[in-house]
Amino acid sequence: MFRFVLRRILETIPLLFLISLLIFALFKLIPGDYLSEMELNPSIPRQRIEELRQEYGLKQPFYIQYFTWVGQVLQGNLGYSFAQQRSAVELILERLTNTVILTISALALTIIVSFPLGILTALNPGRGLDRLALFFSLIGLSLPSVLASLIFLFFAFRTGWFPIGGTGGLHHLVLPSLTLALPTIAFFVRNLRLEMIDTLRQPFVTAAAAKGLRPYRVVLHAFRNAVNPMISITGITFGGLLSGSVVVEKIFDWPGLGALVVDSILSRDLFVVLNCVLVSALLIVAANLLADLVLAWNDPRIRYQ
């Protein structure tokens, strides 16, 4: 198990290297830098701006800047946020907590809604509930998250039941997590339904029923087999939720990593963007790893392989 985890972690290193190099190169291709906007402030002398450029290493050639940053990362120093005048690590950790809360809530919502619905629709194929669930899951899959966010914002504005944005208690979390979870719920319901229908037709399920197991035991037995692909998908979905959170966080003013990435790209806060992407990549890898571990826990056959 340890070797498996270690191998997965080592595999991500070249990936992270390539991602960071790509972002660095793209940033350097865009004209201007974080300090350019200061040049429009008549109260700030040009000499001061040039001193800051020198201090931040922005005047050095691209490759020197990049490898200096890589060297610092290897020493545990993730750089400095120009916009917030402090360590990028502090900033990212603060925002990461909010994104993790939002993403896990959306994931939890996905599981809570889609698993029972997936099972119920599979048990009643072609009936009213099944058709309704399929119809709504089609809408959930085809609705862009921007549009879904706006619909929920309008709903909050009209009813006053939920705050329009910002952070606070659980009520602030409801609409952003629902928006984020909507396509995932739809996707999970459809997939789990198909997997369950397929599993329920398997001989071992018929045998279990024939042996006189209670119906809910039979369903649970089938579910444990049908859920395996869903566990693998959950790892991948986590990445989708993370990237989806960029839009949702921005629209609902949820102060997470996604909103920070957008603001940092716009303000050319280079090190924050780089580190946010690295952290997100690590999170996705960790989520996939966790999904693999859960899969192994749920299905002993995988452990023996």
Binding site: I30, P31, M38, P45, Q84, R86, F157, T167, L173, D253
Partner: protein
């Protein structure tokens, strides 16, 4: 562990995480502390209590006001600190603030200040001259790159600050300086007792991660909670040194909350939903109609110092790196032609911009300073009212003519070459609309005009860096005091948009502007200073290196329950008198 239990555990954990959103806190300071001996009496009245919710597009970069670069951080400084002298953005005058008295010597080189007695920082520690000395010491500290330092270096030399006694200070300027009192309005006073770690540099104090209890100031509010990227909550300062006419300690508000909302439309929605009480700087003209309601008070505070400008690239020289000219020979010829520039200024309808872009909430601009800033406004600067016929006359005098082309006609120069122009503008709605209007107006006088919109930093990089462009539109915010206009108006200035960083003035009129600007900095007679600055505006209007388009109005929407809202068109807009704002039940 049983699988069902595990699922239950995960769900419970998620709910707990969701509930642990914020550290709500209520103001705990006492409203009954003894008033300072020398409390400043403000002619106002209101009721104590209540909260004000106000949006900002993003959180400030720092809580250390010596390092505040942008208005958001300066606004936090405005709430939590006090400067030696205060600038009144409505009357445009310098007032005492924490100094009971201040006097400028006849030679203009010494300012004597007397601090108010009994003034305390928000943590209860008394203010003394030592705090002021400490602040100046930190501002001038070797290697410090704070944003206040540059304004406090006169000809590169620092001010000499001495304490005569515990409440009297003398500040000597290295040379006579016209804006001596004004620059003291930029010096916030630090509580010396909270900066006692010898190994720590001043810039390491008070960043966004600093616990609020480690901060104290002389402003009307103190930071209570900062939720990164979400909001900052400020509570009233129980030791504030301003009182109303009934000797009730200000501020009236118990709490002020800044919400960091990155989208203007969301700000609008949240205001309409009752989650915000006040919108000002970010309010767009088109939002006013949307907000009209009995519960909302809409105000237009008049033209602000936010100015839209248009100019032609006057970089006639060569790029040192490539050895090539910034402009083609024909464009150097056209743009260097005064009649061509005057024709363009006359050919642009500022009224159309006011009407179509700002829906009437702006003022046509004829000089850099808005009419609301009467001290420096130049009412008699030459005006180029929109008149296409007059514009054609200018062009004819400049050697241009028109050639029939299809159903219309095209403007050609003396060598028969068609006049083509590319306008560089920021990729935003306002700049795009202004560019489209100018394009249409100039096409009417026969020019071929295209518009190129780029992201702000790319535009700046092109204008001040590569300098490869024909003409540009930009929105700038000029400070209220002309000493701060040097970077824009001096030929050597880095913000001398049309031709920055000249080693020596490229023209006689730019040389004259340089002389006048240097004179106004050292002239102590205010009226003479005004005359000198107005001469600069006259030269600019005659030579048209830059075409002022419009000054945008500052618009304010406040909930009716919020009282004493008397906004200024200048920063900090409706919060300039934040200590007077109060909420009616």
């Amino acid at each position: 562990m049983n699988r069902n239990r595990l699922v239950f555990f995960i769900i419970s954990l998620l709910i707990l995480l969701g509930c642990s959103g914020e550290d709500e806190s209520t103001p705990t300071g006492s409203r009954n502390l003894p008033l300072p001996e020398d409390a400043l009496i403000v002619e106002t009245e209101g009721e104590v209590g209540g909260s004000l919710h106000y949006p900002l597009l993003a959180e400030p970069s720092t809580f250390n006001f010596l390092y505040a670069q942008e208005n958001r951080a300066k606004l936090v400084g405005y709430l939590t600190t006090a400067t030696l002298l205060e600038f009144d953005p409505v009357q445009h005058t310098v007032t005492g603030g924490i100094c009971r008295e201040w006097k400028v010597s006849e030679d203009g080189q010494t300012v004597t200040l007397t601090l108010r007695k009994g003034v305390r920082f928000s943590d209860g520690v008394p203010l003394s001259a030592k705090d002021v000395l400490f602040t100046f010491e930190k501002i001038y500290e070797e290697g410090s790159k704070n944003t206040v330092k540059d304004a406090l270096l006169i000809d590169g030399k620092p001010l000499l600050v001495t304490a005569i006694d515990s409440h009297t200070l003398e500040i000597k300027f290295p040379a006579p300086y016209a804006a001596a009192p004004y620059i003291l309005t930029t010096v916030p006073i630090f509580p010396r007792h909270l900066f006692q770690e010898p190994a720590k540099k001043i810039e390491e104090y008070w960043n966004l991660g600093t616990p609020p209890q480690e901060m104290a100031g002389l402003g009307p509010f103190v930071l209570a909670v900062h939720q990164p990227g979400g909001k900052s909550v400020f509570h009233f300062n129980p030791h504030y040194w301003k009182v109303d006419r009934h000797r009730t300690r200000l501020p009236y508000l118990d709490e002020l909350v800044f919400h960091y909302i990155g989208e203007r439309n969301t700000q609008l929605l949240r205001f309409q939903a009752g989650e915000l009480d006040l919108l000002d700087h970010y309010l767009r003209p088109e939002d006013l109609e949307e907000l009209k309601s009995e519960k909302v008070n809409l105000q237009d505070a008049g033209p602000s110092n936010n100015l839209s400008i248009f100019w032609l690239n006057l970089n006639m020289g060569k790029d040192a790196a490539s050895g090539k000219h910034y402009l083609s020979p024909r464009k150097r010829e056209w743009f260097g032609n005064l009649k061509f520039r005057q024709a363009i200024s006359t050919g642009i309808s500022r009224d159309t911009i006011v009407r179509n872009v700002y829906l009437g909430h702006a003022q046509p601009a004829w000089s850099l300073v808005p009419s609301s800033l009467q001290t420096w406004y130049t009412a008699d600067a030459r005006r180029y009212e929109y008149n296409p016929s007059r514009s054609r006359e200018f062009l004819q005098k400049g050697g241009f003519s028109w050639k029939k082309e299809g159903p219309g006609e095209v403007l050609v120069d003396s060598k028969g070459r068609p006049v083509e122009l590319e306008i560089l503008a920021r990729a935003d709605d306002i700049s795009g609309k202004i560019a489209a209007i100018i394009q249409q107006d100039l096409e009417e006088i026969g020019m071929r005009v295209t518009v190129r919109q780029e992201e702000l930093r790319a535009v700046i990089s092109r204008i001040l860096g590569s300098r490869r462009y024909d003409a540009a539109i930009m929105n700038i915010e000029l400070p209220v005091e002309p000493v701060d206009h040097m970077n824009v108006l001096l030929s050597s200035g880095p913000m001398h948009m049309w031709n920055p960083n000249q080693s020596r003035p490229a023209s006689k009129w730019e040389k004259r502007i340089d002389e006048l600007m240097f004179q106004q900095v050292t002239t102590l007679d205010q009226q003479r200073r005004q005359r000198l600055y107005r001469k600069v505006q006259h030269i600019l209007a005659e030579q048209v290196p830059i075409i002022p388009l419009v000054h945008r109005d500052t618009l304010i929407a406040s909930k009716n329950r919020l009282k004493n809202v008397r906004p200024s068109s200048l920063f900090p807009y409706s919060l300039w008198n934040v200590w007077e704002l109060w909420v009616a039940n």
